[in-house]
Symmetry: C2
């Protein structure tokens, strides 16, 4: 297996309600930005992460469509889907393709166009990440599922409503330094606690938004990157993925993300690292409780202490392990198929030292954690400046 480097990254000028752009426009903008950043004149293969373009805009066959509109036919182009972990799963396939020697230059993009449908339709489409027959059809939505997880965490570990709010407050603070973010402004704990209730105890400011957006990266062998890259080099140290039951009621513990834990353990082993070696992380904060659960499953904070980590500032910029410096899903936005790729972009920028106002000083090793559904699938990557 060859070492793999990130040669280029690209994202839309701004994520949000991009009504003037179609699914393909959004993807192509991010992909061309990545190709420009990489400085390459061709790619050998492409992966597209997308959860549900069928339900959101009535279009499947995305690999083919996007290759066509990028003008890169006849290269192989394949869509990868793992619900909200589609972007991370696509990145993993691109990593394997380069590491194996199957292709040299691989473009990995993620995209979702979510605002062309009504709120009810978006809720239905997102529910397709849950067990439709045993969860969604009986009326529970994703905020409802995560609310159950939050309740157990609060009951068992004493996590407070305020601590949940601190996750959103921190991520919005970080996002205020990210002009690409959908909601690039700070909020207060009072704002969260006073916002509309969605599924008790989760309020609207505990929830990531509905977003249109895309993100893309260009991968190549590290040896090639050493020759052609004009950017500081970032190596992919580890790529790992795991699964868990799709339905929440099948889990033995509602306050523990086993797929995240398994993917994390595999990633640490592959990278030859421990949680102590991680300088910063982008984790899947689709809801405030999700960041807490992810950090515990990755052993970045002690079990049961995820809420305290947000409250204490440990995971804020300037803290021990800054988490979601991009603003996270909460502030940056969550176009579900793009999120996993955008996490890789943020860590890459940090490791390059080009993260601007939100730069983490001395960042050398970073982790991304992307998750599908309530944690039925998870993908973890570890990147390092070399």
């Amino acid at each position: 297996m060859r070492d793999v480097a990130i040669l280029g990254v690209g994202i839309n000028k701004k994520w949000g309600e991009l009504w003037e752009m179609s699914l393909r426009d959004i993807f192509v903008e991010a992909a061309l930005n990545a190709v420009d950043d990489a400085g390459v004149d061709h790619v050998d293969s492409m992966y597209v992460g997308c959860m549900s373009s069928g339900l959101f805009v009535g279009q499947e066959h995305l690999g083919c469509l996007m290759a066509d509109y990028l003008g890169i036919n006849p290269v192989p182009a394949t869509r990868v889907e793992s619900a909200c972990a589609s972007g991370g799963a696509a990145f993993r396939q691109g990593f394997i393709e380069v590491a194996s020697g199957t292709s040299d230059i691989v473009l990995v993009g993620g995209v979702e166009k979510m605002t062309d449908v009504s709120g009810d339709e978006a809720t239905y489409a997102l529910s397709a990440a849950s067990d439709m027959e045993y969860e969604a059809y009986h009326g529970i939505t994703f905020p409802g599922l995560y609310a159950l997880m939050a309740r157990v965490h609060m009951e068992r570990y004493g996590t407070t409503r305020e601590q949940l709010a601190h996750v959103s407050v921190k991520n919005h603070k970080h996002g205020s330094f990210n002009p690409e973010a959908q909601y690039p402004f700070a909020i207060s704990v009072e704002d969260v606690l006073g916002s509309v209730m969605v599924a008790d105890p989760l309020r609207i400011l505990d929830c990531s938004p509905i977003t249109d957006g895309a993100a893309a990266v260009v991968l190549c062998p590290l040896e090639m990157a050493r020759k052609i890259s004009k950017q500081p080099l970032v190596k992919v140290l580890a790529s790992a993925q795991a699964s868990d039951s799709i339905a929440l009621h099948s889990r033995s513990d509602l306050a523990w993300l086993e797929a995240v834990h398994r993917a994390g353990e595999k990633a640490y082993k592959m990278a030859g690292k421990t949680p102590k070696d991680i300088h910063l992380a982008e984790v899947h904060d689709c809801f405030s409780i999700a960041e807490i659960l992810a950090l515990e499953a990755l052993s970045l904070v002690e079990k049961g202490k995820g809420g305290q980590a947000a409250e204490s500032g440990m995971t804020a910029l300037g803290g021990k392990v800054p988490v979601n410096t991009s603003g996270g899903l909460k502030s940056k936005g969550h176009p579900v198929g793009a999120t996993g790729v955008a996490q890789v972009i943020e860590i890459t920028r940090q490791l390059r030292g080009s993260a601007g106002e939100r730069q983490v000083e001395g960042a050398r090793t970073g982790l991304t954690q992307n998750m599908g559904g309530t944690g039925g699938s998870s993908v973890v990557h570890i990147l390092e400046a070399v």
Copy 2:
């Protein structure tokens, strides 16, 4: 890169309108059959090919769902989508994962549950393989698109309406020897010519049906298979994929499948083979004209002579290069995400010498060609008995 073998294959007892089975039931039946055939007690990773479970049954996140219902959590499980080439694309990802050394035993399945919706809804879902914005939304359906391709082929090469019929007649004859087929009975040229018109010149018996079904294979390194396989060994010699414009109107030639040609050329090169070395093939006969175009693009018959090949018996059982001995998509059925995997199963059975009444004597090298949309994506595999 390691050599890769097919260790086991499995399919449903019968494809068709499986109203008593859900999407997950269908997949699990085929997957367990493959695991039984392989004789393994675990798998390390899984891919699921599926085109549009979102539009057909309102369920995404299929890798996770199927891993859960197979009881194989926490293994990585990823869905791959490339419209009707989803199964072939999933098989390719499994191949790369084993060849690269990322995993040893990989389960690759494909599935589609298409009969829980109305005919109009199915037509809409399938249209998502075309360019929705520039094709389907303006009223053209898949039979209409392939009818345009057929018209050009007839005009340019003198292909006759009867020759198109011979493709369906041949495949139904083959399918009559396949008890798993949806429509396992012979039809006549007169039957085809007298059947309901769908999109002139294509009649209903030129069209593959709407089908529920799944197919699965187990892959492992060839060296491992030599030690543990109880079946004759089948090696994957080549795996190749290519893309073309998604919309038909963007092509320079409507009677030529460039993505199939490119994938075929790459596969022949990777395998160290020429078209003359291929003893039999499973190609993507979603419509009668599609088999003709595929065989020409793969250089298995001369350009423009695809119709004559069916009429002359060259591609029938007992002919020079038997094509679609399984019955093809036309007779066996076409659960779109499963088709590419089922093609691999048929060639594997033939190379094992276990194809029963439809066995091709002396079959040593076989090819599969799976296609998305009107040929916007295509995946070609070459298998060999070793």
